[in-house]
């Protein structure tokens, strides 16, 4: 058998700029093969076209009028404060839980971690049903709250906060737990040799050192709470001014005033973009979350 040596391929064009780039950074061709390029372009179109549509169809001329014709201000205010309170609650109780999951060990810890992060994958409406079963006037906890304190939670702003916390807190927990897990414990050892007790170490060393992750987790949690729909509408309903948050307002506006729905969506889009930009630069440099 004769093995022929390969012949040189026909030359193609290489621009001066590309020559300079390859010379400076090394590496071979960076052109994208068509079987990868085409699906990638489809993905880009799919993700960006709807957003572009939102911008194109927006009633720019009468944005103010469209917004004022609805309960937009009320809904936005409710959304902003409930998302903020949910995030605050998540930080107060979620960060200690993240620490417990990351740093202590006890039987059933893995199971517990799986359970508390379940809301990440659970359909929010299921979370809403579960909250109802627990906290409604006949629920397992709710009946005592009702008979002892006269406290009824469902269909109140408190229910909105609870629904949002239920769905959003796991985002904070997993982000912060990962940070606790990967934080260099050498600094904590050093703090201990300097006389710091466990709580002091947590407060003055561990927490400040994971601050970037805590910030990222809080922003993710807040964004998730702001967009919460399924659990909220199930557990809290949609009473304007009481429990009708922005996403719910958008949903109802779409039926009778599409322009208002678009205007409300734009507001949420702007808020999301602001969140994303603030995250990207400070916290999410190439990290998976």
């Amino acid at each position: 058998m004769v093995i022929r040596s390969p012949r040189s391929a026909a030359p193609s064009r290489l621009t001066a700029r590309e020559r300079a780039r390859r010379a400076a950074r090394g590496g071979a061709s960076r052109s994208v093969p068509a079987p990868l390029l085409v699906p990638a372009l489809i993905a880009i179109l799919f993700l960006l076209l709807p957003l572009a549509g939102l911008l194109i169809r927006a009633p720019w001329g009468r944005l103010g009028a469209a917004l004022s014709g609805t309960d937009a201000t009320q809904a936005l205010t409710l959304s902003l404060w409930t998302a903020t309170v949910s995030t605050a609650i998540s930080m107060v109780i979620g960060v200690p839980l993240a620490w417990v999951l990351a740093r202590s060990s006890f039987p059933g810890q893995r199971l517990l971690r799986a359970l508390v992060t379940l809301p990440l994958v659970l359909p929010p409406v299921v979370g809403g049903v579960a909250l109802l079963l627990a906290f409604s006037r006949t629920g397992i906890v709710g009946r005592y709250l009702d008979s002892w304190f006269g406290l009824t939670i469902p269909f109140t702003p408190l229910a909105v906060v609870m629904a949002e916390t239920f769905v959003a807190m796991p985002f904070l927990i997993i982000t912060v737990e990962g940070a606790f897990r990967s934080a260099d414990q050498g600094f904590e050892e050093a703090a201990a040799t300097l006389g710091a007790k466990r709580l002091t170490v947590f407060r003055r060393i561990t927490l400040p050192m994971i601050a970037p992750s805590l910030g990222a987790g809080a922003v993710l949690c807040w964004a998730r709470a702001l967009g919460e729909f399924g659990a909220t509408i199930t557990f809290a309903g949609s009473f304007p001014g009481q429990t009708e948050t922005m996403p719910i307002a958008v949903y109802y506006a779409l039926e009778n005033d599409p322009d208002a729905a678009i205007a409300l969506s734009l507001v949420l889009l702007v808020v999301s973009v602001v969140v994303l930009v603030s995250l990207r630069d400070r916290w999410l440099r190439g990290s998976p979350l």
Partner: protein
């Protein structure tokens, strides 16, 4: 081995970490700097970690001035935060989110002083270590030598009764190391309590320590003053560290029969039985013809197996009975045309041979 107490640190313990076991019995008196010398993995850092309370002992006990730190038999243990220690870590572990001043004030604050008192304690130590100008910097903005001083200030600011230093100079480049070493020596001699200094650099141990303990494979293989360690190494490892040829042998009258073959004649060396013989590589003379034999000289034949250029001399690696490392000048290499494989004669004066008893159990 037992040690007296006298207000110092006494360690008589065993620490097991997986398959590694550290067995150690040592004492450090107040004001004494005890150098812990040994190769990586010998257990020096494990010992520091046990004394600091970061690793519990598996058996035995650790006490400081009669106060129990850790006692495996009694089951008592004082957490790291409860031990009056100062720890200078290998890479310093300065808190990156705090300024230099906050780092130094950390320990007084954590040990219960008020903010104001902690701040003034910090400024005292910043001043003593010439760090006042750097007080507002973050650790990331410090040079290696500065970071080392901050780490020392932070450890001392907590008013420790015991100072632990883990390779305090190893993160420094050669240029700053000598300056920092001189300064560290001053601060160590000012420190009233015992200090443990871990190092794998023999020079560092010899310069900084009052007493040196040599570790190998989790055991103490030699203890002594720096001068003793340097002149009479107890193991091949130590001999290599201090740059000496070391031979195990058996003394009988004036002759010492060497374990690796060959015999030295050393008049009136005064030892009997198992001995070590140490000789400096520069004390051995290389010649192409045998020198005149006399009772004051030992001469033997050897073959060059390797040449290495050191700073200003050439180190010959010689196979013979016994084998030897010999330092000669580059000129001598050229004049005698020394090549790998050359047969040469080695001569050493009896007065250059240091003979001392071998500690039976620790002989190679």
């Amino acid at each position: 081995m037992t040690h007296g107490d006298g207000g110092g640190l006494v360690v008589d313990a065993e620490v097991r970490r997986g398959s590694f076991t550290l067995e150690v019995s040592l004492a450090a008196a107040p004001g004494q700097v005890l150098g812990l010398l040994g190769p990586n993995g010998a257990g020096k850092s494990t010992l520091l970690s046990a004394v600091a309370g970061l690793t519990p002992v598996s058996a035995g006990r650790i006490t400081l001035a009669s106060a129990v730190f850790d006692d495996a038999d009694q089951g008592t243990f004082v957490e790291a935060a409860g031990r009056p220690i100062g720890f200078v870590f290998q890479n310093y572990r300065l808190f990156p989110h705090m300024s230099v001043a906050e780092n130094v004030a950390f320990s007084p604050r954590a040990r219960g002083q008020g903010k104001q008192a902690a701040r003034s304690a910090a400024s005292y130590w910043l001043d003593r270590l010439r760090l006042t100008d750097l007080a507002d910097r973050k650790p990331g903005q410090l040079s290696g030598g500065q970071a080392q001083r901050v780490a020392l200030a932070r450890a001392l600011a907590g008013q420790p009764s015991l100072l632990l230093l883990d390779e305090p100079l190893s993160a420094l480049d050669a240029g700053t190391r000598l300056d920092v070493q001189a300064e560290l020596k001053r601060h160590l001699s000012d420190f009233a309590g015992p200090s443990l200094l871990v190092t794998h650099d023999p020079l560092e141990a010899l310069v900084l320590a009052d007493q040196v303990v040599v570790f190998e494979d989790g055991r103490i293989v030699q203890e002594g003053t720096p001068a003793q360690i340097a002149r009479q190494p107890g193991t091949d490892y130590v001999a290599k560290l201090v740059g000496l040829n070391l031979y195990a042998g058996r003394a009988d009258g004036d002759t010492v029969a060497l374990a690796e073959g060959g015999t030295f004649v050393i008049p009136d060396h005064g030892q009997h039985g198992d001995v070590h013989v140490a000789v400096r590589p520069s004390a051995i003379v290389v010649s192409t013809q045998p020198l005149e034999h006399s009772s004051a000289r030992n001469t033997w034949q050897a073959k060059i197996s390797g040449l290495t250029l050191l700073a200003d001399r050439v180190r010959l690696d010689l196979d013979g009975q016994p084998p030897a490392l010999v330092d000669v000048t580059p000129a001598a290499v050229a004049e005698l045309s020394l090549d790998p494989g050359s047969q040469v004669w080695l001569t050493v004066k009896a007065t250059d041979l240091e003979v001392y008893p071998r500690n039976g159990a620790q002989a190679d």
